[in-house]
Each structure stands twice: as C-alpha cells, then as structure tokens.
Amino acid sequence: MNAMADSYVTEDGRTIGGVLMDLREITLRFGGVEAIKNISFDIREGEIRAIIGPNGAGKSSMLNVISGFYKPQEGEVYFRGALRPAMKPYQVARQGIARTFQNIALFEGMTVLDNIMTGRLNYMKAGIIKQAIWKGAAEREEIENRAHVERVIDFLDIQAIRKTPVGRLPYGLKKRVELARALAADPKLLLLDEPMAGMNVEEKEDMSRFILDVNDEFGTTIALIEHDMGVVMDLSDRVVVMDYGRKIGDGTPDEVRGNQEVIDAYLGVAHD
Amino acid sequence: MKMKKLAALAIAASVTAAPVMAELVIPDLSYRTGPYAAGGTPFSDGYQDYFNLLNARDGGIGGEPVRILECETGYSTERGVECYESTKGEGALIYQPLSTGIAYQLIPKTTADQIPLHTMGYGRTSAADGEVFNWVFNYPANYWDAASVMVNYLLDENGGSLDGKTLALVYHNSAYGKEPIRTLETLSEMHGFNLTQLAVDHPGQEQKSQWLQIRRERPDYVLMWGWGVMNQVAIQEAANIGFPMENFIGNWWAGAEHDVTPAGAAANGYKSLNMNRIDDLPVFAEISSLVHDAGNAAGDGSNIGKVLYTRGMYAAMLAAEAIAKAQEIHGVAQVTPAMVRDGMEALEITDARMEELGMAQIGPAFSVSCQDHGGTGFGIVQEWDAASGTWTALTDYIAPDDSVTGPLVTEDAAAFAAENNITPGCL
C-alpha cells in the first residue's frame, strides 16, 4: 500500500511478498486512556516485522488488536487484501493468525503433545459422533495431524518431553512449547509477544535461530515484540517503534537506528 | 443399649438367599439419623420394644421367638432399598418402612418377592384396594381418610355446615404433602367451603410467605400436612401471627411431642389427628419392667408413652396379631411371609382383644378383608396442653366419609392396575 508494493528478495535470499496485513489508523482506548493513537503500518508476506518501544508503549495492545482480543475504537484491519470485519479472537485464529504470549499461556494440565496438538484444532473437522466412534474418521485425522505435530516437535527439538505435563517444565522449555503450539497451526501470520523475555544469552540464541528457521523454512510471516534491541535489529526486516501509544518510527533496522525520535524515546528524553 | 453381638456373619447372610427358619424375623427399617430422626426414633423404639416384650413375656409369638433386624435408612430411598435387599433374604415376614418414598419403592418389590408390606397411615393410599394391591396393607387408616376425618370433625364443630368457611391447607411440597388435596377438593365442593392451598418447599425452615398470606386472608381453619422441621416452624409461625391454635389442625404425622415443644407455651391448644389413642396404657408398665429394666430397650428408654412410640408399638401389635392369626390359619408356628399375608387379610382387631393386650382402645376395632386392606379409617382429634406437656384426646374415633374416599381409592387403584397390567382379584 505504499512505495514498497512489489515483492523483492532480501540479501540472504528470502522472498518478501506483498502486504499480508495492513493496519490503518488504529486507535484503542481503555476508558479515557488512549493506549494506541492513530497508528498505521503493514506487514508483508514472508518478512519478520518487529514492534519495539519502551514499557507501556502499547506494543502488547497492538498485538492484541491484531489477534482480535481487543477491538479498536477507530481504524481498520485489512488481512490478505480484505477488510476484516469485527471478529471474535477464535475467528481471527481460524483465519490463520497464531500467537504466543508474554506470560506463557500454555494449558498447564495437559501434556506437551496435547498442547501442541491444540494448535491443529482448526484443521480437525470430525464431528462429535465421529469422535465418539473414534475408529475411522476421527482416528485417521488424529494420526495425520499427529504426524504434522511430530514434525514441529522434531524441528524444535523437544522430542524427549512429549508426554510430560507442561506444568512440570522449566521456563525456557515452556516458551519453546508455546512456539511449537503456534507453529503447529501452520499460521499465515505468527505473532510473538516477547519470545525471549527472561531468557539467558544461550537460550536467546537458540530462540533466535528457531525464529529465523521458521521464517526461512516455512516462509511464515512473523510479527514480534521484543525488548532486546540487539536481537531485534539482527532478526527483523522492518521495525515499528512505538512510544506512549504513538508510532514514532517505521523502517528497516538501519533507518530506525538513525531516527532521532527513537533515540530520544530510548534514552528517556522528556516529552513536552 | 448393650452391644449385642450378632454372631451371624452377615456377608454370608446377605449373599445367601436361603434363610435359616428358626425364628420369626421382623426387619425394622428405622431412621435414627438425618432430618427426620426425631420422628423415626420413637416409632422404632415402640416397634422393637413390643416385640421384645413378646419375647420376654410370651417367648415370642405362638412359641416362636422374634428376631428383629434393625436397619438404618436415614429416610433415604436408596438406603431403604439396600436395607430391604439385605434383610429379605433372612426370611423377613413383614416390612414397615415408615417412609412414603421407601413404601413406593417396596410396593412392587414386595409384591414380586411375596412379602407383605404394612404402611400404617402413610404410603400409597389406594393400597387400601386389596384386590389390586394383594401384598400391601395400610390399615387402620390412610391420608384420604385423615382429610375426611378432619372435615367431619370441623362439620361437627360448626353445627353440620362449613358453607362459606375457608380452609387453608399448608402442605409439604412432596408426594406425601399433596396426598389430601384431591379429597379436600371433592369435600369442598360437597360442603361448600373454600380451600386455599399453601405449599411449603422442603425442608420448610422458611415459611414467612405462607403465614403472612394466612394472616392476610384469615382462613377459618388451617390444616397441615407436614413432617420434620416443617412442623416445628409452622407451629411457631402460627403462634407468631397470632393464629388461634384451636383452629390449627395437623395430620397424624404433625402431632407428636417434638413438633410442639420448640414453640413452648405458644403451642398450647394446637390440635392434630391421631390414629391411635395416647392414654397411659397398662402395657407400658409391662414394657418398662420386662424390657427396659432388663436392659433390652431399643433406644434410651426415654420415649415410652410418646405419641410416635405408641404408634410404633401399635404397629408392632398389629403385626404380631397378624402373625398369630397366620399361625392359627395354617396351623404352624413357623410361618412364612405368604402365610403372614393371609393372617393380615384375615386380621380382626376387637376391643376385647386390645383390652386383653393391655392397650384398651389404642385403636378402633376393625377387620381386614381381601377387598379392603385399609381398615376403618377412624381417627381422633387430640389437643396439646403446653403446661402439662401432654396430648389429650378431644374426641372419640371419628369416621371418615367413605362415600368420598371410596371412589377415589377405586379410581386410583384401577389406574395403577391398568399401568402395571394387574388383573384385580383375591389371592
């Protein structure tokens, strides 16, 4: 929808396509507080798009708008070229948008395998009667999807904990399982809310690798929120910078790095 | 009460269906726990004490000792079924469950197992039709009789006419409480009185709405079909609104000592029906000396002479007389349940016999036949004297209006027969 309308190939040989999601003039209020003020940006197919900003900048709210959990008071969301009508979060998910959460939102009472299998819910169509009978359609479907999930498990290297209840896992592994669950859905757009929060350097490197691999191997479009500037600049193709609910910068890592307003926001220059 | 080691290994007893016929086995499906314990305990005490008296005084019935099998039901039908199944294999001769719910359970079961069931003044009213309910007896009276007796008493009080009067029925919102409604409706058409129905939901601790309505509408009389905590609260609330107690009449399950004592002096003058008299009978002295002093009392011995104790004892006496009758008919001392049924159907209770048993006038004289398992349906009206803490009989036995209850019984029994493919007839 702007200057970069056509697809191009990045330095490392990935193809970035046309606009997948376009957010136009989004404003979100909680009571009297404006969490997001008139923000527009787009996400292109195949790219890694980062949203950064200081605490309370409205990043998570933005992600919640994309995943349909919050309804913006103003503005429009276009997905795959069409205006998205008012939708419940589960309808958004069915359109092919999957996400992880800042504070891990796994199903603690279920095993790792079951958690990841929930990512396949939207692909499993057997009705209640067929499920009750199990033999036949339901079992076939279960096995097909299980095979798919196993590929994700292999990809993220978590074979050993398949049958472990999620509640017993350490933090880093939980993050990985959550990523696996989102990946299992084969999303068109993957939203990652601080995927590396609370991780040590080694874990961060692992996670960065997974994110790049996902993007590279499956061609998944990724939008992520992250605090660690180094990681963000290395990973992403383009970056949106938010501060106090406003967009203060948008462009490639290099462009953003040179933006005075961004520097001010991060260095804590007083606002007028 | 002493620990009585029943040596019998009960698992064997409850599994094997072959009873050892050495004595007369009488199960007592009692409830000494739960919400209705206050009513269940004295009844069971009276029931057991009488059989113990027979054992102590006469060596049982016809020379055969009686063995009582007490089983706690807690007034729950499921535990009632468990009790029935665990006792019937021991050769139980007659059941007296003292619960409408359990009675309904046992009507088909006892019929199939051919064991007589006696539901004395409770249970299924139409069981009075002996041709449909061959194995069920509800003499000496039933709920429809009770409703009719109440109205007859009130007719008598009002010079033979209730025209234009208003009667309010306060009833437990259950099968039991709804029993008298049809009879009262029929009677209200017949005698021209208005009937107001006030349902009280289980358990009945909150009756403010009902009694405010009574206070607003000022019915001439309030009749009550209650059980358990509902009775105590209703009597208290009636006193609270200043309803004249002499115009408040409960049925025979709402007329025991524990129903009125919590309200204290305010309950003075409350009336209730009774199917048995509550005098100081000579038989109590015998029970005291031969049973209680011997350490064989069924409870703590404190209930002797109370309304429900007397009724329990009366029930035991009717059972014992039926067994004796069965022994006489069949000429054996060791009777079977089927023989006891024959005894019940041929039962004849005379004033002379009651006098002889030390319980003169405890009930009306009546006889049972194949057609009529319901007895006379007579009832007395008694009044509570709070100062002395006693019930006194106000009337002699009052007869119900058979022309009203009779057709209702026939109709309901016919419906039951049709639903269950029973061809009415005598055994």
């Binding site: - | 000494r32 105590q232 524990h258």
Partner: protein, 331 residues
C-alpha cells in the same frame, strides 16, 4: 392507603427481615473465603454444631453419652445441672475456637496452596465429619434453646398501624425475633468491621485477605490468622444457629440453612461483608415479592429456586457479584 399496597409493603419488610437471617449465615462464608479462599461448605453444619453444643451445655447433657453407654453398658445422660445462658455461650465459643484450631492444625495446614476445588472438597469432608460428631456428642433429637428470645408479631406495631388501611387490613406484622436478628446482625457487622479496622489482629487479617505473600513478608503468622478467621466464622455460626434454632428448635435440618445463604453470596460477592448484608436483603425481598405476586399463580413454593434465579440473573450482568472484587482478564 389501599390495603393491597400496605400488604405489599408488609411483604417487602418481611422479605428484608428474612434477608437478614440469610445474611447471618452468609457472613460466616465470607469471613473464611476472604481470608483463605476456602469456600466453606461446612458453614451450615457449623451452625448446627454450635447450636447443639450450646443447647447441650445448657441442659447439662453428657457429651457422647450414647457411645459411652453403648461401650460401658452404663446409662448416663445428664449431669443433672443447668448452665446459665451466658456461661454456656462462653463455653460454646471456647468449643468453637478449639474446633477452629483443630481444623487448621489437622486439615488446612496440610492443604496450603491447593486449588480452590480441593479446599472446597475438604470442607465437604469436614461437614460430614462435624455432622457425625455433633450427632454422637449430643444425640439427634430436637432440642429447645431456652434463651428467652422474644418471638411473635409485635402487637404494638400492629395496633399502631391498623388504622392505616381498610377493614381487611390488620396492621403491619413484624416478628420480634426478626427485629432481634436485625439488631444482632448490625452489632455483628459493626464489631467485625471495628475489629478489622482498629485492632492489630484485625488489620493483620485484612492484610492476609489482600495478599498472602505480602502479609507473610511483614511477619504475620498465616496460621494464627486462619485459626482466628475460623473462630470468628464459628462465632458467626453460633449466632446464626441461635437465631434459626429459636424458630425450629435445634435439629439436623439447621445444617441446610447454608442453602439459603448461597444465593446471597452469589449476589453479594464471596469477599464482601457489606455484600453479604445487602445481598441478603435483596434476596429476601426479591423472593418474598415473587412469591407474593407470581408464586400464587404458578402453585407456590417458588422461593427456593427463585432466590437462585434472581442471583443468577444478577450475575449475568455483573459476574463478580455486587461487591465482589472485579475480575480482570489479561493475556
């Protein structure tokens, strides 16, 4: 004023009064839930047990007489003395504190940090246990509480108001016991609030209710606070038991009054003492009004379910109850 209107007012007033009686039971639930997150199913049985104990002590009954007699073959029932009411109440409070200590020491201390439903289940076990102990200790016959509480409609009020309506209006009816209950409830709530505002332990109690971890970190003994809370709930149960027992005598059915308190809790919120009172008033008034207006058209006895339906309707619009803490959903 028209008679119908006056009667409507009377129904409303009596509904409020009934509501106070429900609130008395609901208060005990709130105390425990607020401080420990335990939904105490046993509150009704505690009311029964407290009232049984009070009646038993006053009558000079021998506790566990039945079982003692059964084992030893003796025949003892009473000590043969009567304990004055005030002394008996104090002794009952001691018993309830002992009970609170036992509950905390033997049950809930071992269940700290469990899920709410597990704690709920444990209180069900407690209810069974306490019911059995109550029966064993004091027997299952109906006992009368001779505390001399006034009962019956206030004749004075009736005479005052009888002239307001037509011939078929007989003056307002208010049960004196209900008035006493109202005063008791006001005193109880006032003293509970005063206790929690102005005393050291009360403030500690509030701190625990707000945040267990924070309270621990400033050196408050959770164990002590929970014993305190259970004792208070035991005391509230005693009050409820006395009030309800005055009407029906002390008997098994007293434990079922808990069912009348649940819609009150729903409506008022599980964590609010004012909520328990206001919820009680709304439920009492609502159910009496419904029975008065609609009940007679559909056959009566609607109060039990209507109280729940009223609370349910209310909750659909306000899921955390009237005064409950707002539920905030975050991801």
């Amino acid at each position: 004023m028209s008679t119908d209107f006056l009667y409507l007012v009377e129904v409303l007033i009596n509904g409020l009064m009934a509501g106070v009686m429900y609130s008395l039971v609901a208060l005990g639930f709130v105390l425990i839930f607020k401080a420990s997150g335990i939904f105490n199913y046993a509150q009704g049985v505690m009311a029964l047990f407290a009232a049984l104990t009070l009646a038993g002590i006053m009558e000079g009954q021998v506790p566990f007489a039945h079982i003692i007699n059964a084992i030893l073959g003796t025949n003892i029932h009473h000590f043969g003395w009567h304990v004055p009411a005030v002394l008996a109440i104090l002794m009952t409070i001691v018993v309830m504190v002992g009970f609170a200590w036992g509950v905390q020491r033997f049950v809930f201390r071992h269940l700290v940090g469990q899920e709410p439903i597990i704690l709920f289940m444990a209180t069900i076990g407690l209810a069974y246990f306490l019911e059995g102990v109550g029966d064993l200790m004091w027997g299952s016959d109906i006992k009368t509480l001779a505390l001399g509480l006034p009962q019956g409609g206030s004749r004075w009020l009736e005479d005052m108001t009888v002239g307001w309506g037509g011939d078929d209006f007989y003056g307002f009816y208010i049960d004196k016991l209900d008035m006493v209950a109202t005063i008791v409830a006001i005193l109880l709530v006032a003293s509970l609030i005063a206790f929690s505002q102005y005393t050291k332990h009360g403030r500690a109690m509030r701190a625990v209710a707000d945040d267990h971890q924070a309270a621990l970190s400033v050196g408050i003994s959770l164990n002590f606070i929970w014993i305190l809370v259970w004792s208070l709930a035991g005391f509230v149960a005693l009050v409820a038991g006395i009030m309800w027992g005055a009407k029906s005598g002390v008997q098994f059915s007293l434990s079922m009054i808990a069912l009348k308190a649940l819609p009150v809790l729903m409506l008022g919120g599980f964590t609010s003492i004012p909520g328990a009172i206001v919820g009680g008033l709304i439920i009492g008034m609502g159910e009496k009004l419904f029975e008065y207006t609609v009940g007679s058209l559909v056959g009566g006895a609607t109060e039990n379910w209507f109280a729940y339906v009223l609370a349910l309707l209310f909750l659909v619009f306000r899921p955390q109850g009237l005064f409950g803490e707002r539920i905030i959903e975050r991801v």
